[in-house]
Symmetry: D2
Subunit: 470 residues, 4 copies
């Protein structure tokens, strides 16, 4: 999720396009850009990765402008869902609006039904359209778009970071618990940027200013400075998603003031402290286990090694062979480095175990390459509870951690030992950040009330933990 | 525009796909299909021709069902307009709806503004969304979707043929003047079909039953017969668009009971009666002038000949040469048959002259092929007035007939003589049809009141007369 | 097959591209262009239609030049045959060469084996490569490329029209029997053109000069006039392929001095004379039966009518429904015009019957549209014998005319009567052309000796009669 | 380059396809596969990466077989070079042949001219076609294909590793100096494999047997064991390309018995010994500098860190912004990790400096991320001399090391210090390998005589060092 507000007409479309490349890891299902040229908004979005959706022709047709917003979306199974891609673009007598949303609204279904009974018609099944209509309806009663956002926030419960573009303003907002990240940056020419992660700022050479506060509404306008509305700040228990540090965010991002790379190294350090093992080399499962492996190595003194070479040409168009699909597929992507592991006792760090199928093959590859022992250390606690705030973890049944004990899993994956990061440790991985995390997916305890039944709409704008196994 | 209602789950998607091929000439800008499988509606639409938008994967994902609707849209310039493609799909607590519309609503802007001030948000700039919301709003006050359609028709002014699919019903409706065609057919298994033109029925081997009456609402439901609501019938002056017979409809269609092919032959006959000429051969400009040329030949006794061979491989991907573009482009598509015209006095029948550039090249090609005289006869009167009812003729300024007399045009295009069909004659070309035509684009006299200023929204769902020159 | 020789660097690539569009009907399997810029030859060819193979990027990379050749190839089943596409490009110390070939070499296999035993290596399975190597080998013993062509022609038996481009010359040659057409044209700037059919000249606005004579070698060179070598002229019995007039060539082409359109009208006239019938209307099967239908109408006095409307949007990407494929497929492409045939006795003219499946459906469509009688007249004699000279007619077994009598076929296709053009008549359809035809596929009598066994290589560069049924 | 020989019909095409993914880094310009099904060879090759060229349809058409060969080619600039892609497929009376070649023939031009003067015609401009014809010509005089290969090797001078497939045999050969690698592996079912690098064996789960010896010809045949012909072994000075260890090969490959990963770590170790520096962290330029950075860290005791995050979504379809292209492009792909380098003295290891533009930006990114010092260490000596044996390094002029001293380069790239690996050190990086390297590109001293003038054909099948900077 990204927005830029310049003081003059410029190539905001291409800057947004570059930023979406930097944010692609947050959503691979669909993406889009909306550009504002002196109040006239053009938009384009579709199912696919950024390079699938955007080409020179489409970028050219979007043209230039003084503001732009962009979005990458990670969604549930289901094809033909182009209408759910974002930015959502709406026309209204009070002015058009392009809206980007990351998160999940807990009371979306109730809000939607109430609106429909008053004549509102929905085009999509997303929470984002509920948010957009809540804002538009509030707009009829309020003097400004930002006032409408503030009023709408009074009705919305759950997780939402928003970037909204009106004809003359770019607005960022974050739910009062601050579940999802959202930061503010500035280009050397003074242009303001809102982005889900600071790595998008780095891509554009922008300076990180600060994070949007939980509950805050920040307004940028071409030629103006930033303004802030804090009506909703401090109204709910804080709860930045711990999973952002563990899995979602890019290691080079700084989230709410803490480095993701260092947080992951810390996870590795804590693992080494809590679950030590005698070994000759520490390796990470590429790419997500590498940071924690380095931390484990530093803490334990066991040398760090390169355990796998990843084939960087394998992509979505690779045609799978018919048989032994899982093993062949992993083997194609990863080759164990015998030079590193042969004759060695190996500590393998991964960042999660979802269904356990990939890690089984990885352990086997290490043994085939000559590892004498393979000790698996997971740089996160097991997921055992649903997320209602925008992360699409599998239902409890399909998670291996819900069906088996750690010892059983160790046997299933064929390792010599297995240990997870403790819940206490995960709370401490980003110490430069004083605020509490939401660790509901590990503990079942959430910072705000959640529905009894898992709401269907929670799947809508989340980030899929499953992508990792594929 | 097409809809099918079966008594059982079947391959309604593929039947709709075939029908859209038969109706492709009515709109080349975008197209779409929505399918209803036991109340669950899937839809897909995009910018492009039917073969561009649909492939085996998309058809497969749409799957099977008991009802389906499809649309081909002809729209204005402007890229990235995918959101304006139809069927329009809406979700609502009273049930989802897929809507197809052909025509133009005269009071769309006023209706839209009134709705927006009550909180309605629009996603598109189309009249179709105004119609859809009018129906949805009425639905909150009415006991059935068909009652909502009838109530909404009380607010809509202008031209509209509609095919609407709700979870359990397929509904066809036509504005009280009957500007745009809409007919009813039936498959041998009893399934009912609604289609803009009867040629779509033929493609599927369906039997033509009758046309939807001006002002009528017809309801089909799986397992039921047809029901009709005639509340709005007879409430306005009739006015089927004469241009349907002259240019838009396929010659093998029967529109409001009259054969388009015979109407065009009649146009040729009247031309021969009113503007005779001594000549050796009558030829038609392919493909649209061929029927009238045959009529002219029969009436005049001058032999009919094949004057041009059309290159059937030239398509949208042809790369134009840089210079002499217009002539080279026409020459690539059409080759004059010297064997037919060399040393002959030729009557050339075309169905319209828009800017006059193509016909100039065509006349020149005939002379280069050895024609000693070229007499042009146009099988329609000159367009001189705007259409407010869904045909996107150029603004008055760019039409050659608005700037020059017939004699001047004759000189510009380099013909030996030029004559148009008279307005009196065009009214008689479909004699098996007793009702009055709308001939407003020829006379400036319209069957219902029109706005002073040409409304911008008239461009939205019309059929472009300009395509012909391209 | 096309070649152009200009006096200065110009856009010969785009002219060749346009010409290939005009010649696309002669081969739809693959195509290619080679361009010569001051002795440096670039080439590009691939499997597919002209719009599939060429786009702006490829045309741009080929660039400009003073000479170019192009080819469209019609080949046998079998994918992945890109290496067989033409122009064939060869490098040699005596200079590179791009070669285009239309026809079939009767002694190709023997020549090939003899060459291979001397160390020659083949990259393709085509006759064209045999011709190219025969010329290159002769080149080592001769002072010029044209002398090499003349010497090589002494070894080649069978059908070949050739267009060859060397660094400084463009050479056209035709086998001594003149089986395949090849004509010469000139642009207004003096540039010379060689083309398989004169319609390619018309496309470029070029003037038809004359045909290459059977056995003649014609040399063009930038800045020079044409030169002719007639060594092989008059050395074999003449035999232009009659099938060119009946089916292959475009109606607007003039082949060896005779109009194809008039030849087909004459075929219709002779049918009317030899196989008259009482009827109300004469129609043609689109598009190939239309010319003969007009001739039948003129000769018989029975009015000509438009019997079918063809859907011009159905293309290769159309996705077939699963069931009733043949009928549904024909019905999608052709709609019978009830306005023309209902209640009428109809004469239907087609240009050939191959397997009889399509014509059966067509006859049925006419009856469903109300025709009271359907009399089929075929504007060619039945094919009963193999072609050794480049036309890929089905093996004798699959041709319906080889298994059934005319009366039996009449029953199979469900017509009221059926008659073919007589062999005597087909010989007279192009009376302005005094030379003898090859009518071997109708009679089994060929102008030159043929192999006992049908050579496999005959399939290689031929034109498929089967395409018509598809 | 890859070949597989099975004892029974199996999915050799898909195995080759997987292997080409593992070998993609050796050539990104074009690729291809030829499959042998009981003596019948099908082949397909085109310009592009493996996923561009192969899809399910093409793989399906190639089908199954008992042998297959595949190739990835890295070639010079110039589009439309599809005919130069490999495997090269030839037909001949002694049997067809598919040939894969890696290397460069020093006397290719002379051999080619001699062949042409005897009537041989070339289709491509590659050395590979010269090799293929030399073998085919020898085949007419020899009793077997392997004897022909041995005889042809007597004429060929330079670098060549070959994999050749005839109807019944799969043959591997390596030039007497052993410039390019080629190894032998075996599947658990006994099938034999030849591959340029052992990582392709790992991908298929095959066991590494040994390398093909310099000068050796190895023959595999379905149902037979391996046979070896050593006629040419020991006839020339040995000289495996050192650049294979430094840059070309994948780190997980074992080349001539030595691990590439360890060789690169050794390069880092020698750098730390020869050019030590006081610093706080050692980082590698991704991905090629990572191994050496780890070696430098181990040797020096300076901690290893993750200095950059690479954006794995940026691909060939990324649309460059107009201005500041170089910096923006690098910034998009690489983000410096402030958490690692901020406030630190950094050692940056890269594996080469070609033009110096990328490294300048990389150094700058580190400083912007807070590095207080940046010391660059290059894990190879500077390239100063042309390669005649298949590596396409830039001409001497464009290499920064040819125009400037190390100190000047240090200033240009803005580093605090710069050092290269010494030539003495590079000779020792793979100590488990006792044979001499060719280090001609560093020293100008080559193991075999080279032409005075850089032969044009050297560009033909080489691997481009330039790809790295792009």
């Amino acid at each position: 999720m990204f927005g830029i507000c310049c003081n003059r007409e410029s190539d905001v479309v291409h800057m947004t396009y570059q930023a979406l490349y930097a944010l692609q890891h947050r959503g691979q299902e669909s993406c889009g850009i909306a550009v504002n040229n002196d109040g006239v908004i053009k938009h384009y979005s579709d199912v696919g990765l950024v390079p699938d959706v955007f080409n020179a022709r489409v970028l050219g047709e979007l043209g230039t402008g003084d503001m732009a917003v962009g979005h990458t979306r990670s969604a549930v199974k289901g094809e033909l869902s182009r209408q759910d891609s974002q930015p959502l673009y709406l026309r209204h007598v009070k002015g058009p609006m392009a809206l980007c949303h990351n998160g999940s609204i807990v009371n979306a279904r109730a809000l939607r039904e109430a609106m429909e009974l008053k004549g509102t018609v929905f085009h999509t099944s997303t929470d984002s359209e509920v948010i957009a209509y809540a804002i538009t309806h509030a707009r009829l009663r309020t003097p400004s778009i930002e006032a409408a956002v503030v009023e709408a926030m009074g009705q919305l419960e759950g997780a939402y970071s928003l970037v909204i573009m009106s004809p003359r303003k770019l607005i960022a907002a974050r739910d009062p618990s601050g579940f999802r990240p959202l930061c503010i940056g500035q280009l050397s020419d003074g242009s303001f940027i809102f982005a889900s992660e600071s790595c998008a700022l780095d891509t554009l050479g922008a300076r990180y200013l600060r994070d949007v506060e939980p509950g805050e509404v920040v307004i940028a306008s071409p030629g103006d400075g930033l303004r802030s509305i804090t009506t909703h700040c401090g109204t709910q228990k804080l709860g930045l998603c711990a999973f952002e540090f563990v899995y979602i965010a890019r290691p080079d991002s700084v989230v709410d003031g803490a480095s993701v790379h260092i947080a992951r190294q810390n996870a590795g350090r804590f693992l080494a402290q809590d679950s030590p093992v005698e070994a000759d080399v520490v390796i990470g499962a590429p790419d997500s286990g590498l940071d924690a492996a380095l931390g484990f190595s530093k803490e334990s003194g066991i040398p760090y090694g390169v355990g796998f070479i990843k084939n960087r040409y394998i992509g979505r168009t690779f045609i799978q062979p018919d048989q032994n699909q899982r093993e062949a597929s992993v083997r194609l992507k990863l080759n164990a480095l015998a030079a590193t592991v042969s004759g060695k006792r190996v500590v393998l760090i991964d960042d999660s175990i979802v269904r356990g199928t990939t890690i089984s093959v990885v352990v086997d590859l290490l043994r085939q390459a000559g590892a004498t022992e393979v000790h698996v250390r997971v740089a996160a606690p097991p997921f055992r509870y649903p997320c209602y705030f925008g992360v699409d973890v599998d239902s409890r049944e399909s998670l291996i951690a819900n069906s088996y004990t750690t010892e059983e899993i160790n046997n299933i994956i064929g390792a010599d030992s297995l240990a997870y990061l403790s819940i206490e440790a995960v709370k401490k991985i980003a110490p430069t950040r004083s605020r509490a995390f939401c660790v509901g997916c590990f503990t079942g305890q959430y910072p705000v009330p959640t529905p009894q039944v898992l709401p269907k709409s929670r799947f809508e704008t989340g980030i899929s933990a499953q992508q990792k196994e594929e």
